[in-house]
Symmetry: C2
Subunit: 184 residues, 2 copies
């Protein structure tokens, strides 16, 4: 009986089971979203995965419509979502095309956002504006500031460090995510 | 008595105490390194911090000289190192200029690399090459494949989510890392 990381299909199954568990308290709920900033350098920040669709090969997270990354993505949507699962010693890199949705397109999602999470959307002045002191920020919540970043997955690059040999695999949308081993 | 995240100098102190603890088993030992790939999209992967120098405002990690990111950095050295400290609900973003060192410049570091970590350097074919099966990769270690990525910090952007109010601060090399509050 082989371990899951020894098969391409079982590796891809582990990727999706981790992503799909992200709605719960699984470690995979927290991911890093890397994008290219307006100065052409790489930016990265933590995000919380909010949903996924294996058929469409999409995952999504929420952000403030006025956050810097929304502007960045309008210029360059080629981004990476990185998940690291320490118990499995498993790294999942999703190379994605990110598309930002807002306004009427996403307003139906607001009622399901827990009250404690709503303060992530809103506030004056907008995120990243210099202020004299933390108290100079008015944190008033604004539902119109909810934005959903839908990430269409083009490639899944996995590395598993468990076991005597490292396993690395690449799955491409272009070939139906059939999978290919790579040198680790 | 205020909490550390309520002061700019205490926030910067926490950043460096976390980075400097990275040689131990602190959570900050694992960081995400985001860079711009050759297709101009953002890439990200886990790295292990190996050293730091607060006076020079530098941190470093090791990688395989033939890894994809080494080639990427030659084209675009503007990268981000992201540390997330879940217990503190503290995100540290280091915007860096990355410079790759190898060969005689770094050979003196090899004896201090634990044997179990050495298999990260070497192997045939090089990282990312398609192979038919994991067993087709020869993992022979090669000390000449050690590369050190020295990251000179230009900006430190912190967000602390602890407490009733989120705190965000920016520290710039250009002004001696004096610090400035930002809207979170």
């Amino acid at each position: 009986m082989s371990d899951w990381f020894e098969g391409l299909d079982t590796t891809l199954g582990m990727v999706w089971s981790q992503i799909e568990a992200a709605g719960t308290r699984a470690p995979a709920r927290f991911a890093v979203f890397a994008s290219v900033g307006r100065d052409a350098g790489a930016e990265a920040r933590m995000v919380v995965l909010r949903g996924s669709d294996r058929q469409r090969a999409e995952v999504c997270f929420y952000t403030d419509l006025l956050s810097c990354k929304v502007g960045d993505l309008a210029q360059n949507p080629a981004a990476t979502l990185l998940l690291w699962l320490p118990e499995l010693e498993f790294q999942i890199r999703l190379r994605v095309r990110a598309q930002v949705q807002s306004g009427a397109q996403v307003a139906h999602l607001w009622p399901d956002i827990p009250p404690a999470s709503r303060r992530a959307y809103g506030g004056t002045p907008p995120p990243g504006t210099p202020i004299d002191a933390p108290a100079d920020h008015d944190p008033t919540i604004d539902p119109a500031r909810l934005a959903v970043v839908v990430c269409g997955i083009d490639q899944i690059d996995t590395v598993c460090l468990t076991g005597p040999r490292h396993h690395r695999a690449l799955f491409l949308r272009a070939d139906g995510f059939g999978g290919q081993w790579l040198a680790p």
